[in-house]
């Protein structure tokens, strides 16, 4: 297996260097604007902005494609559902299926929106290390801390989960190989057999995971981790002029998209 996990594409482009908080805020604002706006011109502005951001990120298009491909189904299905089931005057009828101009239009809007949303979301996750993203979210969630939401602890959970995804995947790989060596064929057999085949994988995986979790907790306590204690960072998030320019640009793009 040994697959590349997560979608972060390490780099040092201008997009990579932006503050994760600025990127997260910009992406959220753009996402809202995308769904507010109902014109091709407006959506076009957002699409062009997203494409420029993507171009500046220096991420190879193949990586974007990898993130986008699983969502093609969603976009395709949304398009079909809108085309086939939208109300309105049909301009073409094939048996029970009616195509309407308004349906076609809504379908085009929705697909375009989804595509642009995936594109800007990918730019965010491809250019921001998971750790930086978590740090940014913790900072943005600071107001919640005042009403008792354990944001640091939640961030820690996310960070640990991200950290252990590759470890667990390689664990799954090893266990599956070992059981294959003992005669399990994971690729054939009916559904029932395939589900049953998972038992020799899942039981050891759970045991290993719990043991790991236990060891990690002990190791953290041994290094004086105390839940809820105030934390400092080795690399504090620092927003600079570039981030201010970026946010101003985002505001301008959103305004342009909403007004054209």
């Amino acid at each position: 297996m040994r697959a590349t996990i997560g979608q972060y594409y390490p780099g040092s482009s201008i997009v990579h260097r932006l503050d994760p908080r600025a990127k997260f805020v910009a992406v959220s604002a753009l996402a809202v604007a995308l769904f507010v706006r109902d014109s091709f011109a407006g959506l076009g502005v957002f699409a062009i902005a997203a494409a420029i951001a993507f171009g500046l990120s220096g991420v190879p298009p193949a990586w974007f494609w990898r993130a986008f491909r699983p969502l093609l189904w969603l976009v395709g299905l949304t398009f079909l559902a809108q085309v086939l089931f939208a109300p309105g005057e049909p301009f073409l009828s094939l048996g029970p299926l009616h195509l309407t101009w308004s349906g076609l239009e809504t379908a085009a809007y929705l697909s375009l929106r989804l595509a642009v949303l995936v594109l800007i979301g990918s730019v965010l996750t491809l250019t921001t290390a998971p750790m930086a993203l978590t740090d940014g979210l913790v900072w943005l969630g600071r107001p919640l801390r005042r009403i008792g939401v354990p944001t640091h602890e939640m961030a820690l959970i996310v960070t640990i989960a991200l950290r252990f995804i590759p470890t667990l995947l390689s664990e799954v790989d090893t266990i599956m190989r070992a059981q294959r060596a003992r005669g399990v064929d994971f690729r054939s057999g009916g559904l029932v057999q395939r589900v049953r085949n998972l038992q020799p994988v899942l039981v050891p995986l759970f045991v290993v995971s719990f043991r790991r979790a236990d060891e990690l907790a002990l190791a953290m306590e041994a290094r004086c981790y105390r839940p809820g204690a105030p934390r400092t960072r080795l690399y504090p998030l620092r927003a600079g002029r570039a981030d201010a320019v970026f946010l101003a640009l985002t505001v301008a793009i959103i305004a342009a998209g909403l007004l054209v």
């Binding site: 090893t174 190989r177 070992a178 294959r180 060596a181 003992r182 005669g183 399990v184 039981v203 290993v208």
Partner: protein, 287 residues
């Protein structure tokens, strides 16, 4: 190993399986390309022979075992089992008679009882219940966990050494005639190591072909009559053990050393290749 028990193994497999690797290459697919793990690896191990695969960490030792067992398909070259080429009709059967003991194999135990875990592999081979139960009893006996006392135990209630031996029994119950072991001694206490060495010696004396990946050159020397030194996925030495100055340099260059008994023999002025394999033999020779 008793031979009176029902055995569904074809006669041809009653002895060890000879292993020939021809120009094996294998790469792991990574983010943007491929990392070569084996390049042009060749080896020949006669049936019933024993081979220690040694070399620094990351030299491709584990990968070699995975490829030999058929869990990874080589990019080039072939694994020939008993003279049978991959794809030939008998090949799958020979592959099933090739056991692979993973690093820390106790991690893969999953059944509710020791007996059930050991029976898992034989059942997969489609043996009758009588044959499965005979194979389970035999394998558990061989690893020193007799079925009568350990069969009903939960695998996770066993000690580290016992769990390791139970996992080995799970592989042995499939009656392998070529046994691949990946660092079987790691993390065992001295008594468990001694038990495991004794089990492997019995298997070897029973004619099972052994391939042992290990960092422990002393146990490699004790158990294996040949050695393969891997470095960066390439074979730098293959064949019977040799301890000429050039060979010793080669071991040192690959973060290895000569076995202690060999070193002792060399310092005593004896030909190092004649060094005894066990402390007992050394004591006898020196007495």
């Amino acid at each position: 190993m008793s031979v009176t028990l029902p055995d569904e193994r074809p006669e041809a497999l009653a002895r060890g399986i000879g292993l020939v690797c021809r120009d094996l290459s294998f790469s792991y697919a990574t983010g943007d390309g491929a990392t070569p793990a084996l390049s042009g690896v060749g080896l020949a191990l006669p049936a019933g022979g024993s081979l220690a695969v040694i070399g620094p960490s990351g030299s491709g030792k584990s990968t070699l075992l995975q490829v030999v067992r058929g869990l990874d398909r080589p990019d080039g070259g072939a694994v020939v089992l008993d003279g049978v080429e991959p794809g030939a009709p008998r090949y799958a059967e020979l592959q099933r008679a090739t056991g692979l003991v993973f690093q820390m194999p106790e991690v893969q135990l999953f059944a509710a009882t020791a007996r059930e875990d050991v029976a898992f592999g034989p059942r997969r081979l489609g043996w009758t219940e009588a044959a499965v139960s005979a194979a389970v009893n035999e394998a558990m006996e061989l690893v020193g966990l007799p079925e009568v006392s350990f069969g009903g135990r939960h695998p996770y209630s066993l000690s580290g050494g016992e769990a390791r031996r139970l996992a080995l029994a799970g592989v042995l119950a499939m009656r392998p005639r070529l046994l691949l072991l990946d660092e079987p001694f790691v993390g065992l206490d001295p008594a468990s190591r001694r038990d495991l060495v004794a089990i492997l010696e019995r298997l070897r004396d029973d004619g099972v072909t052994l391939v042992l990946v290990t960092h422990d050159v002393d146990l490699a020397w004790r158990l294996c009559d040949r050695r393969l030194v891997l470095a960066d996925g390439r074979v730098v030495a293959e064949g019977p053990w040799a301890f000429a100055p050039a060979d010793l340099d080669l071991l040192a260059a690959n973060r290895l050393r000569a076995p202690l008994l060999v070193e002792l023999w060399r310092r005593l002025g004896h030909p190092p290749e004649d060094a005894p394999r066990t402390i007992e033999a050394a004591a006898e020779a020196l007495a």
